[in-house]
Every structure is written in C-alpha cells, then in structure tokens.
Amino acid sequence: MKWYSKMSRRIGNSLRRLHLDPSLLVVFVLLVIVLIAGFALSDRFGTVRNLMNVLEQSAALGFVSLGQSLVVLVGGIDLSVGAVVTASAVLMAAVVDSNPELMIPIIIVVLAFGTLIGYLNGYLTLKTGVHPLIVTIGTASVLNGLVLLYTLQPTGGVPFWFEEFAYGRIGPLPIAGVIMLICFAAVWYLLKYTTLGRSIYAVGGDEEAARLTGINSKRTSLFAYSACGFFVALAGAYYVSRTGVGDPRLGEPITLASITPVIVGGLLLGGGKGNVLGTLLGVFLISLLNNLLNYMNISTFIQWVVQGLIILFAVSIYASKVKKL
C-alpha cells in the first residue's frame, strides 16, 4: 500500500490547496481510474454525447443520494427512499393521467408529499427514540403496501412535454442533470456557509453537545429528513418523466443504491462528517462505471461485483483513515 499512501498524500495536499475536503480523495481517485479506463477501452466513452448521457442518467441517483446524505449527516439513515420514489411516481402518473391540466399543480403536490413523508420519518424517529433504520423500514412497508393495493401494474401517464424533464437538453446539457447539479450546489452552499448547515454537522457529530450549545437539534434533524423527502420525490417525478408511467415497483433498487455514493463519497455513516461533493462524485463514479461496463459488454452480475468491491475498498480506506481525517 506504499504507492497508495504516497499518491493519496499528494492528492490530499492538492485538494487542501484547492480548499477541498481530503475525504474526497478516495472517490476522486476511483473516478479518475474509471475515466482513464473508459478512455482507454472505448473510443465512444469519452465523447460529449456519452458524458452528457451519463449526466442525464445519474439524475435520479443524484437526487436520492443527496437526500440520503443530509439524513446521514445528522446521524440517521432513510430506508424508505425507494418507497417514497414509488409512491410519488404512482401518485403523479395516476392523477395526471385523467387530468393533464393538473401537471404543474401535481408537481408541487408530489414534492410536498415527499417532504411530508420525510418530516414524518424524522418526527417518528425523534418521538419514539427508535433507530431510524427501523422507523424508515416501517414507513417503506406502509407506503409499498398502499401503492400495491392501488395498483399492481404500471399505471397512469403524463403529457409528452413532461418527458423533456428527463430527456430534454439545453444545448448539449441535459435538463435533469443540470437541475441535479444545481441541487447539489445549493445543499453544498447551505452546509458550508449557513448556520443551519453547521448545525447539521454539529447534530450529526454529537447531538447532546449540539443541544448544550443552543442548537435546536430536533428542528435540525426534522429539516434534514424533510429535505431528503423533497429530493426523493423529485427523483420520483424524474422517473415518471423518463418512463411515462407510475410503476409500483420502480423504487425497489434505489434504496440501497442511494447509500453507495454516500459511503464511497466519504460521508461517515454515524453522521457529522463528510461533504456532499463526495456524494456527487460517488454518483458520477457509479453512473460512469455502469456506463463503461455496458460499453465493455460485461454482464450485470459482474457490474454488481465491481460495485460491491468499490464499496468494500472505499470503506476499508476510510476505516483506516478515520483518525487522520
């Protein structure tokens, strides 16, 4: 590991000079490796067309992982994100199908719905003192059950113009990808430059200490969970735009997928430490990796193995560096 330590020190120093968090190091290196491999293995991988496609494809994972990051930063975890994505998508497609003129209002309703579910998750966690893992699994079960009671098959539809959210471009830039980047920038700014952002880190680091310093830890946690619900509902809207229907099984894979960029991006699962830019790089890493493995005509099962190995690699590196960071 000598070569790695040497390289990581150099890149860490470079990042510090750029005023960036050294915890981004691992994901940054992995991303560079994937990019180099991609350029070497396929002449189509590095095209603007492909990279913009990847940016477009990464939007849903980006929205959900951003929400997950906020919850993780306050020391929680949200395993209901997949169910909220599904419920939001089905709600939107089912309502709009028979009333296309409700498209704009339903976007607001769905975002409010996601925010409310997030708030409920936070409220129940704080009120009962039960670990958020249990609470959010419960929420997921209720939502999934209600959705499947309503429909077993993909349902509803949206006007064609709403597909532009998922597939539309501003010049070469995908609209969904740009919105995702704006969301990340806004949250990064909030965390770095506002009192609320500093409170989020403080509550995640040591809730009792934060409370003693006058931070309203409950309100801070509720904000994180609610914001998570908002971003997750946005992902649900994106999926409806991308598939044209509300699929009752849509969100199943996204729950665990949303945790991967968080871990790889260097956020501490216990809370209080990490940077959403790491999550963003994690999202790009996973999306580029899937894209590259598709280009290499490699089995999905090998894609799972590679993703798992990256998580294990990242976690082992972070575990050995926790004290140094």
Binding site: N53, Q57, P154, N291, N297
Partner: protein, 375 residues
C-alpha cells in the same frame, strides 16, 4: 390484402419453423385471429451488412429468462456471418436501468435495437425516441404501449396459452368443481394477461368455483408454500383442480399435494408447462395434466426477424411463435386436443430444472451453454 396475408403467413411460417418440433403448422393465433395482421414495410431500415445489433435484456431472474437469453445468444451465433457486433445489456428487472442501457446501446451506433422490456409500459418513451432517431426496434416477450414505438413484436400468445389451459381444466372437471389459480408475478404483464384470460374462460362455467388466487412469482418454492397453506386451510380433498400459468409454480403445487400425503391417483388435475420437473411429476404420478410452454424460443425467432428488418424484408407487426399443447394420456377434452402426449414430450433424461421449448436442439445444456459473440 390477400398478398399481404400470404406474405405474413410465409414470414410467420419461416420463423416458427426454426423452432418447432411437432405442431409445425402456422401459429394458431394467426389462423384463428378474426382480424387482420398488419404487415410492416421495412425498406427504410434496409442496410448493407454486417450489422451492429443491440440487445437490451430485461432480466435473468428465473430459469425461463435464462433459457430465453441463451436462445437469443444462440441465434446471434447462428447468424454471426451477418453481424459485425452483437451488444448485450441486462437491466436486472429494473426498467429505469433498462432506459439507461438503451441509451448506452444507441451511443454505440447500433443498426437495430432488440429489446425484451422489463415492463410493458415504462419503455414506451425511450423506444419512441429510438424509432424517431431512425433506429428500428424489435420487441420480444413484452410489447410496449404505442405502435409507433416498435417495428415488430415477437411473442407466444399469453392469452391463447391461458385460454387453452383454462378450458382444458374446466372441461376436465365437466364444468363443476373448486379450483385454485396460481398466476406468476403480480403486476408482470404476461402473468396479468394470462390470469385475465383464464378468468374469462372460468366465467363461462358457472359450476367452477375459484377457491383462491395467489401470485407465486413463478417460483417452485412459492408455489409449494402457497399451496401447502391452502391445503391446510381447505383440505386437499376439497380442491378439484389447480390452474397454474407455468410449471415453475405448478410443480411446487404438485409437491405440496404429495407432501400432504395425497396419493398419486388423488392429485387433482393441474396445468402449467415450461419446467421439465412439472412434466416429470405428471408423468410419474399420472394425474390429469395439460402443459403449454410459453416457449423461450421466441428469442431465437426475434433475432431472425431483426435481421429481416435490416435486410428490408416486410415483417408482421406481431409475430406469434407456435407452442405445443401437451396432455397426459387419455385426458384430451372436447375443445383441447394434444399436439403431443405427455409420455412422448417429457424429457426424462434431462434435469428437473430444464426449460422445455427452448428450440436450441437436443444438445442444449443450460449449465454448459456458452457463445463468444462479436462485440
């Protein structure tokens, strides 16, 4: 119009002939269709070979899907002289991943997209956009919502399969009895279409009482567990028949009766094809049985049809591949006759998990199957 129908018949016959063994006529759904099939002119997609075809697969989550996937690869290998590249992606049952997979394939300048959609509806927008880009789309196993999203759809009819097996069961019971319905995966369009078609049939027989309907996810273990619970609740002797849309869960149901101590001659009539285990159980225990495979060889037919599109040949908008009706000896009914008797069809020398109707010849073995496709 007459010329068009003859052309469709010729195309259908050519493609179905690739994969059939016993019933070698035109697909019954073609013969009995009271309407007309549309013929699609494909000269606008005609290109000089060799071709680059992208195959976006939905999943390999069960034995049927694995065999289907092998069939597509087998056919690509068979036609490798016409192929420059055959690119494959697998969405692991996730329609949103499949949308991304298709975008990745389009980015590699494919000449045609062959797709087994993970769901019937969710792929519509991306396939419509693919067609608008001038890349022809051939769907297989599941079609998508709008006609403008694909050139042709290759299938074996879910509704015909279900109507025939349900009719066989109802007639075997002389229109009287308590039955259990075991459909496949809740929400999956093949399972829902088959269930709906079967219910249409049973509604024609007022003496048939549906005791319970339970989704099984096409899993033998689920079939066994669910039927065991029903037997415990209702009593095995009160169940007169079991309609399963596949032997994947049907075999589990038979095992539940055996585990409950029901003697071979008291196991109620069952339906369900695909899985060799089901055929073996029916052969060994001798209960009345009707098996109709949703033949995975539709994958083979789809590759042939895809090449026809790129060669500029007219193709049917919907191509139904033949299936075999397999019935145990002495159990044909007034409406449903056997294409092949159970004793002749069951593959006693092949493993239990072997999927029938694969169309890849006698030497096919899913455990050792491997092809090296150009990519």
């Amino acid at each position: 119009m007459k010329m068009k129908i003859l052309t469709i018949a010729a195309v259908a016959s050519l493609l179905s002939g690739i994969v059939m063994a016993d019933y070698t006529g035109l697909p019954r759904t073609f013969l009995w269709n009271p309407g007309f099939n549309e013929l699609v002119e494909t000269s606008e997609y005609q290109k000089e070979g060799p071709y680059t075809i992208g195959f976006s697969n939905a999943s390999q989550a069960d034995l049927w899907l694995v065999t289907f996937f092998h069939g597509v690869q087998w056919a690509a290998d068979k036609y490798r002289g016409q192929l420059a590249r055959f690119l494959v992606t697998d969405a692991n049952s996730d329609p949103t991943k499949q949308v991304s997979d298709i975008q990745d394939l389009l980015n590699q300048d494919i000449d045609l997209l062959l797709v087994n959609p993970a769901t019937a509806d969710a792929l519509d927008p991306i396939l419509r956009r693919t067609m608008r880009q001038g890349v022809p789309v051939v769907t297989v196993a599941r079609r998508v919502e709008s006609d403008e999203s694909f050139v042709s759809f290759v299938t074996a009819s879910d509704t015909a399969l279900a109507r025939m097996s349900a009719t066989w069961l109802a007639e075997t019971l002389n229109g009287q009895g308590r039955i259990v319905l075991l459909p496949g995966l809740a929400g999956a369009s093949p399972a829902e279409f088959r269930l709906q078609a079967a219910k249409e049939v049973f509604a024609q027989f007022p003496g048939i009482e549906i005791v319970d309907t339970q989704y099984t996810s096409w899993s033998p273990a689920n079939g066994k567990q669910i039927m065991s619970a029903i037997i415990q609740r209702e009593g095995a002797e009160t169940i007169d028949g079991v309609w399963a849309d596949s032997g994947l869960q049907g075999s589990g149901s038979v095992e539940a009766f055996i585990n409950a101590g029901v003697s071979s001659d008291s196991i109620p009539p069952h339906t369900g094809g695909d899985l060799n285990r089901m055929y073996k159980l029916a052969h060994e225990h001798g209960f009345p049985f009707c098996g109709i495979d949703y033949t995975p060889s539709i994958g083979i037919a789809s590759v042939g049809l895809a090449l026809n599109v790129l060669n500029g040949a007219a193709v049917p908008k919907r191509l139904d591949v033949n299936f075999q009706v397999v019935i145990s000896e002495g159990h044909e009914t007034e409406s449903i006759k056997a294409d092949e008797l159970l004793a002749d069809y069951v593959a006693l020398d092949r493993p239990d998990d072997f999927i029938m109707g694969h169309g890849m010849g006698a030497t096919y073995d899913p455990k050792t199957f491997s092809v090296d496709l150009p990519n």
